[in-house]
């Protein structure tokens, strides 16, 4: 069995901060002279190791372990996603004194969204990977590994490579997410999308099954400076199925923000 926390340990120097009674671990890595800071909030169970590996080439990357996630104790105190986001915002403020790009995936993206609403002056750019705040597909949590794989992947057969995650961690994280969200649409988050001041990229897999296809356009309509991207042939766990495409899009966006739409590849074949 592999614990999520152990996986993160390989990604940098481990440390922790104390906030709201939580002991929040984080891992820092990056080059000697980073060009900026990136804070990553991972979602349930599976991390963003390939994206992190790419970003650490240029940025100081801080991976924060959400209270109740990974190897941390079960979180029974946070009463809402905004409250959890507030805790994470305080932790981030202790670790990153100035501005940063914030990246979250799945439930971690929901927390990142709320963190941006609560600390808008510190988040320079926001990347939401497969966020589940808006129009999650209704229904109970998947009850079998096969059903889980069908919901998470465009190609469920790829789930086999990720089957080594400790089921106890999965159950703990699922319980927290279910308690805080109920698997329901976050109407308050939707209402406040227009308050997000920073450049925002929202990515979904073209075969996303956890969130309704109309969700992407809601983010695009409501967030003033936003882009939406569809990663072809990926489900909810984009990094597991199309890691290169995810890394390419997010890396470009972290560097270039809304100007990432401007073509930069040369068309010259033989000069």
């Amino acid at each position: 069995m592999t614990q999520a926390g152990q996986r993160l340990t390989a990604a940098g120097k481990e440390d922790h901060v104390e906030v709201d009674g939580f002991r929040i671990r984080y891992w820092t890595s990056g080059p000697p002279r980073p060009v900026g800071a990136v804070v990553m909030l991972e979602g349930m169970t599976w991390g963003l190791s390939k994206l992190r590996d790419a970003l650490v080439q240029k940025y100081q990357v801080i991976a924060l372990e959400l209270p109740g996630f990974g190897a941390s104790p079960a979180n029974t105190r946070s009463q809402s996603v905004p409250e959890l986001a507030n805790t994470v915002a305080q932790a981030t403020a202790q670790v990153v004194p100035e501005h940063y790009t914030l990246i979250g995936t799945s439930f971690g993206a929901n927390v990142a969204l709320w963190q941006t609403l609560q600390a808008p002056d510190t988040v320079e750019a926001l990347v939401l990977i497969a966020p589940t705040a808006i129009l999650p597909v209704a229904g109970p949590m998947a009850s079998t590994p096969e059903e889980t794989a069908r919901r998470l992947f465009a190609h469920p057969e790829k789930a086999r490579g990720l089957a080594s995650v400790d089921p106890a961690i999965v159950a703990k994280e699922q319980a927290l997410v279910q308690r805080l969200t109920g698997g329901m649409h976050d109407a308050e988050a939707e209402r406040r999308l227009g308050e997000i001041p920073c450049a925002t990229l929202v990515l979904f897999g073209s075969e996303e099954k956890m969130v309704a296809p109309e969700a992407a356009r809601i983010y695009r309509e409501r967030i003033p400076n936003s882009n939406i991207a569809f990663v072809y042939d990926a489900g909810h766990l984009i990094e597991a199925e199309r890691p290169e495409a995810l890394v390419n899009a997010v890396s470009d966006y972290v560097e270039l923000r809304e100007t990432f739409i401007v073509g930069r590849q040369t068309g010259i074949i033989n000069p």
């Binding site: 073209s206 356009r217 939406i228 991207a229 990663v231 042939d233 390419n248 739409i261």
Partner: protein
């Protein structure tokens, strides 16, 4: 069953072409070419007048046999003359094209025709891969991704980025959107299992070209089963068969015509390529290793890739009705898309065939 007229716009003197592909442009005479397109448009108009409910267009390159390398341009011209018929793009070769550009052309055509567009997705015959130097081994995946991207481009109301395997577009916002919402009718032209799956899962129709009825029946059987698994069943309009036709007043006349064609020598209707080129394409499409030395040593003669497979329908009206009924009964085909412009048949004769078809065949097949 409905009839569709394939607007091939064949070059009038196509009977002079060599049996190879591509056809060297030196065969092109501007005056003949202009006349050929005018005659082709007349045929489409007359077909509509005689009761054909669709007029179709197909992308083919570097040849005057089906001289519509840019089918959307041809469709737009014909749509101004044919005011009732569905304009069926059967279709763009997605493997060769920028899918966003295709989506833009389709959106515009649906607006120009006020919602008469039918969309077909296809890969094309092996020779077509060479038109824009597309790697044949990537064709299938390009097609699958292209279909997804076009559907997204035609349905997504907000600008978006596409991070694909073969296509990356950071801003897609197709304008105009189709008149038919959420999408115009779509068919996938294929006999491949993965494409049949795609069509079934996405509730798209099926088009099959130029194969015998038993072969199409086997394809259709798989498609229907997968549609059933996906929880739906296609309507007759969603099952299209494209075939070549020679219609005469009687079976005897048709047979006499065919004998004359055979006596005239090799039929210039195929798309033969140099043997080594043909082998290389087939190997790449199949994902197999290709060693040029074996080809050069083997002395392969006359290898033909995707050659025309003869006539699907031939005979007098009664015989042709029976032949079409077989496709209806055994395959569920609800639309026959008909290629009248055989190499040895001129414009006047095509017009006669259309008239005969409208008078003696169409009333019967409409009853299927």
């Amino acid at each position: 069953m409905k009839a569709s007229y394939l607007g091939a716009m064949g070059y009038a003197q196509r009977y002079n072409f060599p049996t190879t592909w591509p056809i060297p442009p030196i065969y092109h005479d501007p005056e003949t070419s202009v006349r050929s397109y005018q005659e082709g448009i007349e045929e489409c108009e007359f077909a509509e007048e005689m009761g054909f409910e669709w007029v179709s267009f197909s992308e083919h390159h570097y040849s005057g046999r089906i001289a519509t390398g840019t089918p959307a341009v041809m469709a737009a011209a014909v749509a101004e003359r044919c005011k009732k018929a569905k304009i069926a793009m059967l279709g763009h070769l997605l493997t060769l094209n920028n899918p966003v550009r295709v989506a833009e052309e389709l959106g515009l055509l649906d607006n120009l025709t006020n919602g008469r567009l039918v969309i077909g997705f296809l890969r094309g015959t092996p020779n077509e891969d060479q038109t824009y130097s597309v790697n044949p081994s990537e064709g299938r995946e390009r097609l699958l991704e292209g279909m997804d991207l076009i559907i997204k481009a035609l349905t997504e109301p907000q600008p978006f980025s596409w991070e694909g395997r073969y296509y990356q577009f950071r801003t897609v916002a197709v304008w105009p959107r189709p008149v038919q919402q959420p999408l115009p009718p779509m068919v996938v032209a294929t006999r491949s299992d993965d494409m049949l799956h795609y069509a079934a899962e996405h509730k798209l129709g099926l088009a099959v070209s130029f194969v015998p009825v038993d072969q199409m029946a086997r394809v259709a059987e798989k498609y229907y089963a997968w549609c059933d698994e996906a929880g739906w069943q296609p309507t007759p309009d969603q099952i299209v068969y494209r075939g070549s036709i020679y219609l005469a007043e009687t079976d005897k006349q048709a047979e006499a015509w065919l004998e004359g064609v055979k006596r005239a020598g090799p039929v210039p209707g195929g798309i033969a390529m140099q043997p080594a080129v043909s082998r290389a394409i087939q190997a790449a499409r199949a994902g197999e290793a290709f060693d040029l030395r074996n080809i050069l040593a083997g002395g392969v003669q006359g290898d033909v890739a995707g050659a025309a497979r003869g006539l699907s329908f031939m005979g007098g009206p009664d015989t042709v009705v029976k032949q079409m009924k077989a496709f209806h009964d055994q395959c569920g085909a609800g639309v026959v898309d008909l290629f009248f412009q055989q190499p040895q048949v001129n414009h006047r004769e095509v017009m006669q065939e259309i008239k005969l078809f409208g008078r003696e065949v169409l009333p019967h097949i409409k009853e299927f």
